[in-house]
C-alpha cells in the first residue's frame, strides 16, 4: 500500500471487535485515500463496511467500545490521539438513513446544527449555511420544514449539514438506498463534483453498477471483514463474484458463459386469452387532505390471475398510495376499487386481508411477538383460522423462507435480512391469493434479494404477485407485466419488452435504462423475452 504523509486518510493494519461479539468485525485493513480521490467500498451485508466508517469518523472508539488494533492516520496524525470534535471537523459523514440523521425541524436549523454545537456566533452561522445551500443548489429550501421533504431533498439537506463544517474527507454510507434512479444519478453527480473540488470522497454502496458511472478512482472490496481487492474498477470486475455484487451486464455475460445456467422456473404465467380478474381499479382518484394535491389521478387497471407486476415510478409518484388502496387501507376519494368483484369501500381491511397479503417496506414496523412462531400465527389468528390450519400455515411459511431453525427465536433478535424474510413469511402464513410487496429488496444485498425473489416466484400458492421497486433490473427479470407511475398517473402498462422499449420516454418518467435492459433489448429477437444476464450468456453461448 502506498503510504505517504500527504494522504488524507490511511488505514494501517486496522482490526476491530465489538465488545458484545466474539468475532472481529474487521481485520487487518490497510489502504489509503488521497485528497480529491473518489473511493468506492463494496461488499455484502455484514462484511464490516459500516464498522470501517465508524473507525474513520471517531465513533469507534468514542461511542462504540471494543478491541482495537492498528492505526488510522488523518493527514499524518493518528485519530486515536485526536478529540472527537477535531475528527468531526475533518471527516464529514452522511449516514445511511437521512430521515434519522436530520436533527433540525427546519432546513436552516438542520444545516446549522454542527456550527451551533461548535458555539460559532449566530451572525457567522447564517452566511455559512446560505453559502453551503447555494453550492448544492437548494438555497430556496432554507426556511422549509425538513419533515415532508422528499427522499432526495432530505439527502441533500443532510449533505449540506455535513459540508457546512468544511470537512476534508466525506464518508457516505449507502447514500443511494432509498432514491429513485434519477435522483440517485443526481446525487452521484454531486459527489463527483465534490471530489473534483478536492474533497476525498469515500462511498459505501451495494449499487456498485450505479457508482461506477461516476468513475471512482479506487475500488475496495471487503469480504468477511478483510480487504480482498483494492485497485481500479476494471480489476474488480475481473475477480469479484458476479453473484454477490451486481456488475454491468456485459461483464456478467462474459464471465457467466462457462458457469452452469441458472435454474429459475416461475410458477405464474399470464393468461392472455381469457384472463380472470382478481382486482380492478376504476377511475380512482385520491388525495390525503382536502387541501393537498391529488396523489392518484384517474387510475384504471385490472390485475389478472397469473400476473407478476412490477410497479415503477419516481419517489413520490404514488406507488405506495396506490397499492394501499388494493387492501382498503386507503379508500378512493373518487372511483372504485373492486376486490374479487366487491367494492373495498364496503369491507374492512381485515376482510380484504383474506385475499390480499401486503408486505410493508420495513420489517421492523410489524414485528412484535416473543417468538417467530407467534409472529407468524398472528395474521391467521386474526383472520379466524382454526388452530390446525394455523399450525399448517406457519410451518409452510417458515419453510418457504428457509428459517425453520429460528421458530423459537424472538424475531427482533434476528438480522435485518432475516427479519425481512420473517415479515414476508408473516404474510405468507395468511394464505392470501394476491401477494403485494413494497420495495422488497431495499437495503438488502444482491445475493440475498435474488435468493428470496427466486424462492417466492417459484413457490406455488399465489394467483398473482405485485411488487414496487426502484430497481429496473429486478422488474425486468421477474415481472411479466410492468406498470409505470408518473405524478400519480399510470403512464405505461404492459409486457416488459413493450413498456421498456423506448429509452427517451423512460427517461421522461425518471427511469434510467440499465446495462441489463440494453443487453436484453439487443438480444430480444433471439431470446423472445427478458432474462437475467447469466441466462442470456447461455443464449448467445
Amino acid at each position: 500500500m502506498p503510504k505517504t504523509n500527504a494522504a488524507a486518510l490511511v488505514f494501517d493494519d486496522l482490526s476491530f471487535q465489538y465488545n458484545t461479539r466474539s468475532e472481529p468485525a474487521i481485520q487487518h485493513i490497510s489502504f489509503s485515500v488521497q485528497p480529491g480521490e473518489l473511493l468506492l467500498i463494496a461488499g455484502s451485508s455484514g462484511c464490516g463496511k459500516t464498522t470501517l466508517m465508524r473507525c474513520a469518523n471517531g465513533l469507534i472508539p468514542n461511542a462504540y467500545h471494543g478491541k482495537i488494533s492498528g492505526d488510522i492516520k488523518l493527514f499524518g496524525r493518528s485519530v486515536f490521539e485526536m478529540q472527537m470534535a477535531e475528527i468531526s471537523q475533518a471527516v464529514g459523514t452522511l449516514l445511511q438513513d437521512p430521515e434519522r440523521q436530520i436533527l433540525g425541524s427546519y432546513v436552516l436549523n438542520e444545516v446549522g446544527f454542527g456550527l451551533e454545537s461548535l458555539g460559532i456566533p449566530r451572525n457567522e452561522i447564517i452566511p455559512r449555511v446560505d453559502e453551503t445551500l447555494e453550492h448544492l443548489g437548494i438555497l430556496h429550501m432554507r426556511d422549509r420544514e425538513t419533515f415532508g421533504t422528499s427522499g432526495g431533498e432530505k439527502q441533500k439537506i443532510a449533505l449540506a449539514g455535513v459540508l457546512v463544517m468544511k470537512p476534508k474527507i466525506l464518508l457516505l454510507d449507502e447514500p443511494l438506498s432509498s432514491l429513485d434512479p434519477a435522483s440517485a444519478h443526481e446525487a452521484l453527480q454531486t459527489f463527483r463534483q465534490l471530489a473534483d473540488e478536492g474533497l476525498s470522497v469515500v462511498i459505501v454502496e451495494h449499487r456498485v453498477e450505479d457508482v461506477l458511472t461516476i468513475h471512482p478512482d479506487t475500488v475496495v472490496y471487503i469480504d468477511e471483514g478483510q480487504v480482498t481487492y483494492c485497485g481500479d474498477s476494471k480489476g474488480l470486475m475481473a475477480i469479484v463474484d458476479y453473484r454477490r455484487i451486481k456488475l454491468p451486464a456485459d461483464i456478467v455475460v462474459e464471465r457467466a458463459r462457462n458457469a452452469p445456467a441458472p435454474q429459475f422456473y416461475p410458477v405464474l404465467k399470464p393468461n392472455y386469452k381469457n384472463p380472470e380478474t382478481l382486482l380492478s381499479f376504476e377511475g380512482v382518484h385520491f388525495q390525503y387532505n382536502e387541501d393537498s394535491p391529488e396523489v392518484l389521478d384517474d387510475i384504471n387497471f385490472e390485475i389478472h390471475k397469473g400476473d407478476v407486476i412490477a410497479v415503477l415510478g419516481h419517489n413520490g409518484s404514488g406507488k405506495t398510495t396506490m397499492v394501499k388502496h388494493a387492501l382498503g387501507l386507503l379508500k378512493p376519494t373518487q372511483g372504485h376499487v373492486l376486490l374479487e368483484g366487491l367494492d373495498t369501500q364496503k369491507m374492512t381491511v381485515a376482510e380484504a386481508a383474506h385475499t390480499v397479503g401486503y408486505v410493508f417496506q420495513s420489517p421492523t414496523q410489524m414485528l412484535f411477538a416473543p417468538t417467530v412462531k407467534e409472529e407468524l400465527a398472528f395474521g391467521p389468528k386474526n383472520l379466524g383460522f382454526s388452530p390446525e390450519e394455523i399450525d399448517k400455515n406457519v410451518t409452510w411459511a417458515i419453510e418457504t423462507v428457509h428459517l425453520n431453525e429460528e421458530l423459537d427465536t424472538p424475531p427482533l433478535a434476528l438480522s435485518f435480512g432475516q427479519q425481512k424474510r420473517i415479515s414476508i413469511a408473516a404474510i405468507l402464513s395468511m394464505r392470501s391469493r394476491i401477494l403485494m410487496m413494497d420495495e422488497p429488496t431495499a437495503g438488502q444485498d444482491y445475493w440475498n434479494y435474488q435468493a428470496f425473489m427466486d424462492a417466492i416466484l417459484q413457490m406455488p400458492g399465489f394467483d398473482s404477485v405485485i411488487f414496487i421497486t426502484h430497481d429496473l433490473d429486478l422488474a425486468l427479470i421477474y415481472a411479466n407485466r410492468i406498470l409505470i407511475l408518473y405524478g400519480g398517473k399510470i403512464v405505461a402498462d404492459g409486457r416488459p419488452q413493450d413498456v421498456l422499449q423506448d429509452e427517451l420516454q423512460l427517461k421522461k418518467f425518471r427511469i434510467l435504462p440499465t446495462s441489463l435492459l440494453k443487453l436484453n433489448m439487443q438480444y430480444l429477437p433471439k431470446t423472445g423475452s427478458f432474462y437475467r444476464a447469466e441466462t442470456i450468456a447461455h443464449f448467445i453461448g
Binding site: 440523521q101 456550527l115 419533515f147 390480499v356 398472528f378
Partner: protein
Amino acid sequence: MLVTWRYKYRNSIMDRIDPRARWIFSCAFLISCTMFWDARFLIFFFIIAVVWYTFGRTKWKETRRGWLLVSVMLFSMIVINTLITGGGAGGVVPPGGHEVWTQGFTIPWVNWHIHFGLTAERLWFAICQLLRLGGISAIFVLIPYTMDSRSYGATFHGLGMPDRFAYTMELSFRFIPTLAQDSAATLDAQKARGYEIEKVKGGLFRKILRIAPLIVPITMNSIVASEDVANAMDLRCFGQYKRTWLFELKFHWWDIILIIFSALMLIGSAVAAYGFKMGNFWIPESFINMLIG
C-alpha cells in the same frame, strides 16, 4: 395520522412578547394567585388573566378543545366536590355555616330524597375556585396556541436550563411528526394482517394487551433509530462546546416592564399573604343575606 401544532402566527400582542418574559409572567401569576382565597384578590387576578388571554387573539373555535378539558376538570372539582359532596372545601372553609337549601330535593322516578348540606360559604367558595382556576387556565391554555414550536429549546435555555436539557426538548419536537408517521405505518401494517383494534372482546386486561402489536414495534423501532440519531449528533460535535441557539430571542423594553410587573406581583402577593396575613377565605355578609334572606 396527522399531528399538527396548534401554534400559528396571529400578529397579536403576544407574538411580540419575548417567550422568556411570558413564562416568567405565567409562573409568577400561578404562584401569586394560589396564595389567595379572598374573592377581592381573585377578581384582580382574574381580570389580569382575561386581559392576558385577549393578547393572544385566539379564536374560540381553536381553543375549544382546551377549554373542554378545563371544564371537565372544573366540573369535577367545583360541582361534584364542593357543591354536591361537600368535600373540596375542607381545609379552607371553616366547618358549619349557613345552610342554603335545607329541604333538599327528590329525584323524580326513583323517589330518592337527597339532602345535601350546601352552605352559603361553600357556594361562595365555589365561586372563588371558579375565579382562581379560570384565571390559571386562561393563562396556561393559551400557551400551545401562542408559542412557536421552534422557540421552546432556546426559551428554556434562556431561562437557565442547561444546553443538553433544553436541546432534548427541541429534538423531541423534531421527532414528533416522524414518529407519528411510523405509528401510522405500523397500524397499517398490522391491519394488513387482520388486526382490528376497535374489535376487542373481553375485559380490561384483554383490551390493554391488544395494544401490544402496536406499541412494541413502534417503541423498538424508535430505540433502534436512536442509535443513528445519537451518531449523527456526535459526528457534528454535539455537547462539546457551549452551544449557540439559532432561534433568536430578544428582550424589548416592554418585556422588561412585564418582568418587573411579574416580580412586583409576586413580591406584593407574598407580602400581603404572609406578611399581613391577608387573602384568607372571606365571604361578604350580603351574599349570605341574599341567600338566606
